[in-house]
Structure formats: structure tokens, C-alpha cells
Subunit: 555 residues, 2 copies
């Protein structure tokens, strides 16, 4: 069937059957409005790739219809793709103040800030696009300034929840606006898109208040410095830490670029209050008594390049972890990151630290920002949608969310578990799921902060651009090279390959020496650095951009 | 310091700072007795390696002293290295009946059974080796027939707990022998070696009985076939399943070679009771009503080659998962395996199954076999050791175990957190930790069941034997090859490399076609199969054994 003029169409370019890379679209008549544009990290099978963002081919083919990008909140899986998106398809971006702050940080790094059109919104804003009137409502999540979105169309109202939980006792009084949600539900919701992350977990999401008490307890017991690692964007958690730091009469140090930047933005926007004089520089740490020091640092997910990983191997300038220091993981492990985290925990124990970690429920230092089953049922009940598309989750999460919807009265058959690219068309209140639009992954090579030489590829390009493999064999114990690096190429030709090989060899060995490999954590640092240095060299020398794949074999 | 004639020495060749590859040694005078010989799986950095076992160089250099291998129980991380060990250093092996049954299965596969000396022991046995009298005591674990060991030496008594928990209501009445443990403690324990796996978890390990009730509930609710996946060696769990299958009037099918073999051994030894006529063949499944069928299958850890993974992709001959069938994960995810498991769960949901999974505490279908903190404290209290070496764990687990020991009265400074190879010498009751013996990993290439062409390498050989890399680029969606496979070699020369490359190319493409790649699960199947086929060919053709590294790039 064709798509009539007054058809409402809803689809995802990312975020379904996956956690990450969220990008949804509401299309009515000649207008497409996008919701969020996030990124995702590759799993081990995608060698040579650093980041994945949604493939926007369909949007580029329909660019005259794409009107705006609305961003629900500032987490990476919702904003991480924005610079790459705007570079190809500049449209106005609507977001709240704090979210804009985080987006601006990214655009600055990509040198896109000046030409971008960023429009600040709040829960009371109204935006008109084509025949759609768009309003908003406040939701509570593990980052400040989050919104849900209501699209008022002639076909009916579509609600997108953003990421949420019902934090009935939020740390900073940022309540979810239940009254507004009830009003919206009363007006009538044709279609609800609601996030499914914790749809497998029974009960209500535990309250933020739990953490405050545990933090205080821990600080009181601490004999030396206290390190707290958490997500820089979790401002309410950081506020709790600041409160306890003040109570225990300590100074506060911020370690990790993201932590420094985001705290700065939050303070400037008045979302985070830090007593004057509390924050000191890393260099001052060793001049003061350890009992007077608290440190907020990045790296709660075991990220090899973040502050905590480097602290755990004694590789952070100015600051060390000493016996008797305390390290608190005030963030839960995102599934998949457990191994990297336990390696750091082991290292910290070997340094003599007292480590508080584990999933939130065991250590009490973290609660999820995503609604558990009762939160999700409450949203469904408030919204009372006729149709439902569970979003933001892997298949089993979407599946469970459908069960929840049916348990609170959404009729069987009215919930649609879609895949990315599958379109739900609604015309005269009749939903049809019959067509798909092209979707996929765009692979980013490089693309880290400040890496303006990143390369964007689609699947075809990835298999055509050629590949350079650098095989490094190192001694697992002391990081010594066991053999010269091997440089192998596939589909990548250069007249003077011998010279190139020799030079890449040299770059590799130099990089390794600089990084003085010692343990497992360093493995990823080595690979990233070798990739970066090699890519720069090859582009400079051969003007080519093969996929660089360092393969590290540890013996 | 030298090692005097009456020095008691204790060290590990594997199992410290790691979970896996357990191998401990008690040395007194001219006699060395080994405890366990397990294996470990490599992490992603060790390309081309299938299995890791302890490096026994030190034992080979002192082979005239090595008297026996005592095995505490039949889990892979305690017996998986035995065939490779006995092949190099044949000594008598002491183990209980069920444990011997599992060891025999392995030795049969390696064609070592006939020449091996296997001696059956039980909790009342006594073994004299040199000046050591060795006795045993029963412990409860997640596999039948487990023992702890007591070494009575002139220097004092050393106790090794094996793996244990205090299951006060075990399913099959296999109680831990607390009375015997109390006697041993009363006699006096110089040194205790106790396993640390769950030393981070507060409380007592939950009881097995929890599972029985939940299993029954689930079976009662099931509309179609019920699949239960669990460890084949967890005979008490299997007994619970058999009980419920009988109660719900179903027939039972065993899927997966390990499941079939181990159930057979357990039934022959009288440890598992299955009503006559309950077990039927897979081929009979489709002739019966689904409500009459229960299936026990391997694959609870997401293993790509095991039964459950193949069932989840419709690749199991004779048996399919249909909408309405139930799948129960009656085993907890071993840390690191979560991703593989959730992929299978997603697949099963897409097939329309009702899946019960999650960590034991959420689904109630599994409890750990390892003692939590109160179990460990109880063991320490019963044994009242003077000195303590926490074993069987990563650093943080050993660390926590030391805290537990100190909390129940082991004097500060009397607990030794060792690394593999670090020796504790005790002479005239004075412990000294001053020397180390060589330890390491032995890498097994191949070595899977029936793979008699496996290759054993140490670190040096791994970097010298040369490597053949096979790079395969496939389409993530449909498994189609995106380009011809690339064959690259490093340090592996052959005169007719062009011919070899062409043949390996052909083998690779054939293997892929046979396996009809469809999703992520298949990735590991492909790599294993390509490796196997390629290794066979190269050995046959070139009489060489390079490390084969298939690299799969999915786009």
C-alpha cells in the first residue's frame, strides 16, 4: 500500500533490538521529526571500529522533509551521534538547557558549534512543525533535565517517554511530572513509545535516597583519601557526593576530562551546587592530609583510558592510590563491562585500597535510572495508549514490556515489537505494519574527542577500503615485545609498501615503549594509540584511509 | 634460604589470582603430592588458543618426587588438565567414584585410559605417601562425591577444602561432614587452604531446596515442551528435574553429548535415579504431545556448540523450540558469559518460547555451589587453622577471604595471599614466603573432545611456531561472504604457499557454506570449525603445526 497524505508513520533508525544508538522518527504528511541521535560501542567482532551511529541514508534521501531533531536527554546513547548527523544533515536541534550544554561540548570538539542551530526548550515549551504541535513533560532519570515528548497530530497524539523512572524521592527534587502525564493520558494517547531497559526487573526502581546514606557511612569510615567513580552526567549523584564531602570536611578533586567538563557545565547552569573553595587542583592533593581529600573520577565502567584505570596502575600524574584509601564505585556496571571493572578492582586491592563495588543492590552505592516493571506499568497506566511500541531495548526487554502493557489493559495485538527500519503506519486510526525503510550502521573509525580525522564508513565501504593489520606479540607479564610487529595488508595497496611497513613498524614499537605495557588494562590503550598514530601517518604519507586493525597477542 | 629436609612446602601451579586451572602441591621431604589439575578458557586476547592448563615444567624437573595426583571433584577447572598432565607425567590418580567416572570419560577420549592408574577413594580412605598420611572428609558442592583432604605430616596437618558450601538441606542428602571437620579442627590444623569463589557475598549460600519448588511451579504452568538447561555434572539438579518430570507425567530427552554421557555415568554409579522408561530418544519427540515432553540439554552458559545454542537457531536435528514451549535456565551465568546467554534468550523469545532465566536469586532456578561468607567463616571456625592460604579465586576474592579469616580469629599476619608459583615453606612451625618456582600457562590448540591432533605450546613456542591468519568478512545479517577469505601467514613458511593458500581458501569457504551463518552465535562455530579443518589439512599436507587464527569480520 502506498503512503497517503495523512498517514502517520513511526519508525526507528536505531534503538530497537539493541541498547544504544537511539534514533526514532515521527513522520506526518511532509514532515519528519527525529527523536534523539545516539551512538553505540561495537562488540569484539568489529575489528578496527571505534563507534557505531545510525545510518541516515533514508533521511538523506528525504532531506527536504526532515525538520528537526528533538533530544530527550544528554546520555551518549541519545546524543553521541549528533556531530556526525549534523555534519551530513544540519537541522535545528531542540533540547533542554543541560542537554544542550552537553551537546555543545561535543559540537565544540567537532568544530561544528558555530554553524549549528540549537534551540532551548523546557517542559512548558511548544513547538509547531507542519501539522504537528509538539509539547513536553518532565521525566526523572539519572541525568538532569530530561523530557518526554508529545506529538499532537490530526491522526492522534503520540507520546515518547524518553528514558525515565518514577523517582518519588529524587535527590534534587526533580520529580517526574505525574500530573501532566495524567492529563496527557486523559486527553487520549493514540500511540506510546516507552523505554524498555529494565522491563525484566520486578518491582519499582529503588530510590536515589538509598545512596546518600551509604555514601555518608562509607566516608565516615574512611581513613585516607576517598575516591568516588561515577558517570560524570549523573549530576544528582555528584550532588550527593558534594554534600557528603562537605559534611566530612574534605576538599574535592575532579579527575578525568569528562568529569571536569560536565561538572563545569552543571555548575554554570545552576544544576549543581558546590561550596566555594571546595574544589582544588590535582597537584594540591599531596600537600594535604589524605583524610581531607575526596576525589571524583571517571572510569566507573572500567574504561581503559579513563582516570580510574590509570589510577589503578599508578599511571595518573599527581594522584596515587595509597594503602588505606577508599574507592567507591557509585555507578552500576553496564552489562558487558564486568570484566574490565573487576580487573581494576583487583588492582586497587593490590594497591591496598578498600574498595566498595558490586551491583547497586549489594553495595548500595548506585540505583538504576531506568524504570523497573512497576514504573513501566505506571507509565502505561497514566498514558492509557491505544497502541504501544516498546523501545530502547534488546528483544527480550521489548518482549517483557509487551507483557506488561497487556497486563495493564493494552489490548492484545495492539503492541508492536518492531525492528529498526520497520514502519508502523497509522491511518484513520488503523495501524499497519507492512513496509520497511533502509537502516543500518555507520562505522566510525577514530572519532574520539578531538580526532577530526575520523572516517565514516558504511558496510560496503568497510569491506572495500582495505585493511592494515598490525600484529603485536607481547609478554603478558612485563609488556615486552616478543617479536617484531608484523604488518599485513588486505585490499590496501601502496607502491612503496616496504617503506610503509617499515615505518608503521617503527611507529608501533615506539608507541609500545612509550606506553610501557604492564597489564591487561593497557591492551586497549596500546591498540587505540597505535591505530591513531598509524592512521595519521598513512593519511599523511599515502593519502589513504584503510581500516587499521591492531591485533595484540599476549603470551 | 635453602629448603631443609623436613620442610613442608605449599604452592600453586594454578588457581591463584584466577578462577580456573586449579593445581596445588604439598611437598614434604622427597615427596610431592598434587591436588587437582584443571583447565581454564582463554580470554579474547589469546587468539588461536582453545584451552589453558598449568605449565608443569617444575614438576617435570622434579619428576622423581611427584608421587600422586589427588582430585577433589569432577569440575573442569579441577580435572580438565588431567589428560595433558598424565601424558607428560604419569602418576597414580586418586579420586572418588563419580569423579573417576568423569576422569575416565576424558582419558578414554584421549586414548590414555588403559595406561592410567586410577585409584578409587572415599571419605574413609587413608593413603600413605612418604611421611604423609592423607585422609579425607566429605564436602557438599554442585556435583556429587566431593572431598576435602587432610595431609598429616610431622610438621603438622594441612587441610585442603576442595570446593564446598554447607548445604544444610541438600537435595540428595549429601551432607557436608561437619562432625568430621570439627574433629579435624580439634586435632589441630597448621595450615588451611580454602576456596574463595564467593568470598565477596554476604550471608549463607541459599539452599538447593529453593530450586525444587520453583521447578515444579514452572512445569505446572507449561503448555508445551519444557527444556531445562543446566550443567551436566550438577547431578542433584538433574535429580530434581527428574523428580518434577515424573510428577508431571512427562518423558525425558537428553540433548548434548556431555549430558548424555554424564547422566549415563551417574546412573551406572547409582548416584542418579531415573524411573525406567522415562528417557526417550530425540527422534521420538515429534511423535508425542508437547505437554508430555521434557528435555535436559547442555548450553546453559551460551556455549555456541552446545545443544541450547543450536536449538535457539533451529539447528538441532529432530528437536525444535515451538511457540509455547518453556525454556528454563537452571544454572547461573558464570561471569563473562552473560552476553552469549542473553543472545540465546533473545533468540528463544523470537521463537515464541517462554524463557525463565536470570541469576539464581531472580529466577529461583539455581543456587551457587560455592560457599558465601558465612559458609567460609564456618569452615574457618571448624578448622581453626594457625595459618591460612585462601585459594581458588581472583585477587579480590582472596583478599576478602583473608578479612573473613581475621574476623573469626586467625591472627593478623598469618594469612598468606600468594600468587601461582610463590612457595610457603613451613619449618618448625615457622612460615616463610621467600622463594618461587616456575609456573605458567600451557596453551592447547585444538584439544577438544576427540581432537588427538591437539598441540601443546608454551609461551616461547607460541611465538615461534608461526601463525596462519584467515580473515573472513561476512555479512552480519545473512552470513554471506563479503569477499574472498584472505590467508596471511606470519613466521610460517612453505615452499608451495600459493597452493596451500588456495586450499585453505577452499576449505574456509566450504566450511562457511556448510554452517550457513545466520547470527552471532555462529561466529564461534565458524571459527572453531575452520580452525579444525585447516589444522588437519596443514598437518597432513605440510607436516607443520602453525597456530591457526581465524578472524571473522562481520559487517
Amino acid at each position: 500500500m502506498g503512503k497517503g497524505k495523512n498517514t502517520l508513520s513511526v519508525f526507528a533508525l536505531g534503538g530497537l533490538n539493541e541498547v544504544g544508538k537511539n534514533m526514532y522518527a515521527i513522520e506526518y504528511g511532509e514532515d519528519i521529526v527525529l527523536i534523539d541521535c545516539g551512538n553505540k560501542f561495537p562488540d569484539e567482532s568489529l575489528l578496527g571500529i571505534d563507534l557505531i551511529v545510525p545510518d541516515i541514508t533514508y533521511l538523506l534521501d528525504n532531506k527536504e522533509k526532515v525538520r528537526a531533531l528533538i533530544v530527550t536527554h544528554g546520555h551518549e546513547d541519545h546524543i553521541g551521534g549528533i556531530p556526525f548527523f549534523l555534519k551530513q544533515l544540519p537541522v535545528p536541534v531542540y533540547a533542554t538547557r543541560f542537554t544542550l550544554g552537553l551537546i555543545e561540548l561535543k559540537l565544540k570538539e567537532h568544530k561544528l558549534l558555530r554553524e549549528s542551530k540549537l534551540i532551548e526548550i523546557n517542559p512548558n515549551s511548544n513547538v509547531k512543525i507542519g501539522q504537528m504541535e509538539i509539547s513536553f513533560f518532565k521525566v526523572f532519570h539519572s541525568i538532569p533535565d530530561c523530557l518526554g515528548i508529545v506529538f499532537h497530530t490530526p491522526e492522534g497524539n503520540i507520546v515518547h517517554t524518553g528514558d525515565f523512572k518514577f523517582g518519588l524521592t529524587p535527590a534534587n527534587k526533580e520529580y517526574s511530572d505525574i500530573h501532566r502525564m495524567a492529563e496527557i493520558g486523559k486527553e487520549g494517547v493514540l500511540l506510546l513509545l516507552s523505554e524498555s531497559t529494565n522491563a525484566e526487573r520486578p518491582g519499582f526502581t529503588p530510590s536515589e535516597q538509598i545512596v546518600a546514606g551509604h555514601l555518608e557511612e562509607a566516608f565516615m569510615k574512611a581513613d585516607g583519601k576517598v575516591f568516588v567513580t561515577t558517570f560524570a552526567s549523573n549530576v544528582s549523584r555528584i550532588q550527593q557526593v558534594v554534600h557528603v564531602v562537605q559534611k566530612t570536611n574534605r576538599k574535592l578533586v575532579l579527575l578525568g576530562r569528562t568529569m571536569v567538563n560536565v561538572v563545569k557545565v552543571a555548575m554554570e547552569l545552576g544544576i549543581l551546587t558546590v561550596p566555594a573553595g571546595m574544589i582544588i587542583e590535582p597537584q594540591e592533593v599531596n600537600e594535604m592530609s589524605p583524610k581531607k581529600i575526596a576525589i571524583l573520577c571517571t572510569g566507573s565502567q572500567g574504561e581503559p583510558l579513563a582516570a580510574l584505570a590509570r589510577l589503578s596502575t599508578g599511571d595518573f600524574r599527581d594522584v596515587d592510590v595509597y594503602p588505606g584509601d577508599m574507592v567507591i564505585f557509585a555507578a552500576g556496571p553496564i552489562p558487558g563491562n564486568e570484566r574490565g571493572i573487576t580487573t581494576i578492582v583487583d588492582n586497587l586491592y593490590e594497591l591496598g585500597a578498600n574498595v566498595i563495588y558490586g551491583s547497586g543492590s549489594t553495595s548500595g552505592m548506585h540505583v538504576s535510572g531506568h524504570g523497573y516493571q512497576e514504573d513501566l506499568k505506571l507509565m502505561l497506566t497514566l498514558m492509557r495508549p491505544q497502541y504501544f511500541i516498546p523501545i530502547h531495548g534488546e528483544y527480550r526487554m521489548l518482549y517483557h514490556h509487551r507483557l506488561l502493557a497487556e497486563s495493564v489493559g493494552v489490548e492484545k495485538g495492539n503492541t508492536f515489537i518492531l525492528k529498526n527500519g520497520e514502519v508502523l503506519d497509522i491511518e484513520e486510526s488503523i495501524p499497519r505494519q507492512l513496509r520497511t525503510i533502509p537502516v543500518g550502521n555507520t562505522y566510525i573509525d577514530g572519532g574520539e574527542v578531538g580526532d577530526l580525522e575520523y572516517v565514516l564508513r558504511d558496510r560496503k565501504q568497510l569491506s572495500e577500503d582495505g585493511m592494515l593489520m598490525i600484529i603485536i606479540t607481547i609478554n603478558k607479564e612485563d609488556g615486552e615485545l616478543q617479536a617484531d610487529p608484523e604488518i599485513l595488508s588486505r585490499g590496501f595497496m601502496d607502491e612503496n609498501f616496504a617503506k610503509l611497513r617499515k615505518e608503521v613498524n617503527r611507529i608501533t614499537m615506539e608507541t609500545i615503549q612509550e606506553l610501557q605495557i604492564e597489564n591487561r588494562i593497557k591492551r586497549n590503550i596500546i591498540k587505540k594509540q597505535i591505530k591513531k598514530n598509524t592512521r595519521q601517518y598513512i593519511y599523511k604519507y599515502a593519502k589513504k584511509k584503510p581500516v587499521i586493525v591492531p591485533i595484540l597477542i599476549e603470551l
